[in-house]
């Protein structure tokens, strides 16, 4: 399966590119993509707890199955003002 992977913010700095194209096995999940990149770029693992994913521009969990032609993005937590506490950040991760 061919997928396009996008990186933003700090994650783009770590991986060194904004966009990548990858061939992965049938049945691979979003999490599998993460593992592949984390193996090549260990610094990604530092963000493991807060990193978010999207698949075709919808938030996706690591268990979500990929399909040929998918666009996956590795997203840092959304930046914002300091009006709300870190608790708000965790609610986004559950979405």
């Amino acid at each position: 399966m061919h997928v396009k992977v996008l990186f933003f913010g700090m994650l783009k700095d770590i991986v060194g590119r904004a966009e990548d194209r990858l061939t992965v096995e049938e049945g691979s999940s979003v999490g599998r993509l993460y593992e592949l990149y984390a193996a090549r770029f260990p610094k990604l693992a530092e963000h493991s707890g807060s990193l978010l994913f999207s698949r075709n521009q919808e938030f996706a969990g690591r268990g979500e199955q990929l399909q040929d032609g998918d666009e996956v993005a590795f997203l840092p937590p959304v930046s914002g003002g300091a009006d709300d506490g870190a608790r708000e950040n965790r609610s986004l991760e559950r979405e």
């Binding site: 937590p77 709300d84 870190a86």
Partner: protein, 163 residues
Amino acid sequence: MTGQVSCNDDDDAMTEEKNPCRLTRETIDTRALVSELLQGGAGAVVTFEGVVRNNSGGRATKFLEYEGYEPMALAKMREIAAEVVEKYPIDRIGMTHRLGHLDIGEASIVIVVTSAHRKPAFEACHYAIDRLKKIVPIWKKEFFEDGAVWVEGESGRQMAVAP
């Protein structure tokens, strides 16, 4: 409500024009957005502007750079507009987020809500900016005298830019 807005549906196309959600790299013209949204039945206009502060984490800020996953950011902004219209008895909502280089005092986000009465307008505007901070994929990098940091999350945790 599913909250999904299809770009091909006539009703939804009119909804998008009624409640414009935009990205720009230019200075946001707030008064123009207010003029665009204001209609005769509105008795209240509530405007929120998120502007660049001159300091963060004890350091003086030189400028910010905003980047976004643009198609997803627009989709999420439109979802938020649909949520607002469903939840609050308002007339219209418009939001413009700016990307790229921003100087101190410049607005990165402007949200305008019009309604017959002020209470729902205040509540809708507050809801909209809170939701935007949570689900819209836009990030900012703060530049200081001796470096730059990506700001992460609501808590404002700062991650030093990789060398």
